[in-house]
């Protein structure tokens, strides 16, 4: 492992710590909200990762990772972070009551800002990766075959998730259904889509790992 890769690993550890503070810190140590500190750590680590990627280009990821595998890892991290934001929102919405039905309420406003920053970061990193010199080929038949298998696997997972959701909704006692407001249902569907993408990316990176032996 190179010096740059060790530095990137340290940045990832800081990002994980930041994400933990951001999503779990609000109810942590009595009287102290770690959310803003966690968010600052997470975004600082992501920004430094972008700087490293732009500066050291081919040295950030292991040489045995193909361009498509690198993109899959980046997608996995960003989809997981966006998914955590949506889960956080789903946790906060029921407490808002009727306000939850407004498109812009006190819970969704910070979400749009954070998701917007994450999507922007994702686009920047993906475009830097695309510009790396990979010997002329970024995507070949093995990548396409893995992408196809991952998509099929994720579709199967999505079907199971939808069936699970339907069963849960049907089995829910009527008095417990009051929390299921339209905006909450909409966000549950978004969470399902994100779960599908997450499963697809996890399958992809695991398949690449298995094929490396």
């Amino acid at each position: 492992m190179t010096r740059i890769q060790r530095r990137v690993q340290a940045l990832l550890a800081v990002a994980v710590l930041g994400a933990a503070g951001m999503f779990l810190g609000g109810e942590g140590w009595p009287g102290i909200d770690f959310g803003p500190v966690g968010a600052a750590l997470l975004y600082a680590a992501l920004w430094l990762f972008v700087v490293h990627l732009a500066k050291y280009c081919g040295e950030v990821f292991p040489a045995e990772w193909s361009p498509a595998e690198r993109q899959a890892w980046v997608a996995l991290v960003f989809v997981a972070l966006i998914g955590l934001h949506v889960l956080n929102l789903l946790d906060a919405l029921p407490e808002l009551g009727a306000e939850a039905d407004q498109l812009r309420n006190s819970a969704t406003r910070p979400l749009w800002t954070n998701v917007g920053m994450l999507v922007f970061g994702w686009i920047v990193i993906a475009s830097i990766l695309r510009r790396q010199d990979t010997g002329g080929v970024d995507l070949d038949e093995r990548d396409l075959r893995i992408a196809h298998s991952a998509s099929r696997f994720a579709d199967g997972g999505m079907s199971l998730l939808i069936i699970g959701l339907v069963v849960a909704l049907v089995a829910l006692p009527e008095h417990s259904r009051t929390w299921l407001r339209p905006m909450i249902a909409a966000n549950v569907l978004i969470a399902l889509l994100l779960a599908r993408t997450l499963v697809e990316n996890i399958y992809t990176v695991l398949r690449y790992r298995r094929e490396r032996g």
């Binding site: 080929v137 038949e141 093995r142």
Partner: protein, 72 residues
Amino acid sequence: MSGFAVRNRIREFRQQRADMTQADLAQACGVTRQTIIALEAEKYSPSLELAFRLARSLGRNLEELFRYEEKN
């Protein structure tokens, strides 16, 4: 059917050409270097088209390059 596997001699024939690296072979065949690594480790079986491109790049025929044999 599951008791058989595609074996290949890509690494052996590539190494016989002292100047040919995995990256050179990858470029000649239009795939990534990581796919050549997976092929040489027999973790991936190529499409027929890629098999022909590999054989042509290594100056061999398909029968020399690939074997379909029982797993150990």
